[in-house]
């Protein structure tokens, strides 16, 4: 218990990942979904870095994490832009009403 190893980080990331999924699924607010995605990506990052630390010993995991963060930012930017468009059209941010205008 007292020696922190790879498994600790892995369990943590698994739980955060699941919470991210839970967040994506339960939030009807589009931004909630975005937040869920961020959680998921963070969990993945923790994994990458932890592996880098305990397994490979090189900084490759860090590089991946950098790119993930970068992509997360990009995703957030585009996502929010889309949601604003969505909001402008529907006057709501509730994703469940997204298909109401289809027909």
């Amino acid at each position: 218990m007292l020696t922190i190893g790879l498994n600790h980080y892995l369990v943590l990331s698994a739980i955060v990942f699941s919470l991210g999924i839970l967040c994506m699924v339960t939030k009807r607010n589009a931004l909630g979904i975005l937040i869920g995605v961020e959680l998921v990506l963070n969990a993945a990052n923790v994994n990458l870095v932890a592996f880098s630390r305990y397994q490979t010993g090189a900084a490759d995991g860090h590089m991946f994490a950098v790119f993930v963060i970068l992509l997360a930012a990009a995703e957030a930017a585009i996502g929010i832009a889309i949601f604003m468009n969505f909001y402008n059209t529907l006057q709501t941010i509730d994703v469940d009403r997204g298909d109401e205008l289809r027909n």
Binding site: H8, I15, L19, I35, A50, S52, Q55, A58, L70, I80
Partner: protein, 163 residues
Amino acid sequence: MLEALAFYIFAAVTLVSAIGVVASRNIVRSAVCLLGTLGGVACLYFLLNANLLAAIQLIVYAGGTLILIVFGVMLTSKSPWVVFDPTRGQVVGAVIVSILLATGLCMLLVGNEWPAGTAMTASPHVKDVGTMLLTDYLVPFEAASVLLLVVMIGAAYLARPEK
């Protein structure tokens, strides 16, 4: 010993705030809780010898993305306190699924015998990281820059006011 203590504290911060993200009914609170998670993760990066990454995490995520989200919240709701609740059934189902998922992931990750690897002894220097970025990872780096450009234009296009 100290490391363990630090890990448990940071992990607790991360988890509690992540739960807060999921559990809070309005989106502003979620965003605030997310800040906690991001910070917790950043701290964990320190523990993992990834100092630079921790910094990036704080600057880009907490400083950029989160702000973006908060702006998004403000721009897209008549009142930031508007609540859309999922039905009880949805919640129950989702919780079951995520518990299952977490169990599965834990079992997978923990139960596996990872081959013995080399542990990292010290945090990589920023210089080393920069060198890697411009040598081994040059192509993804350039691609990422193009992507960011595209995102910038795309976001601007999408979010432009209605004609």
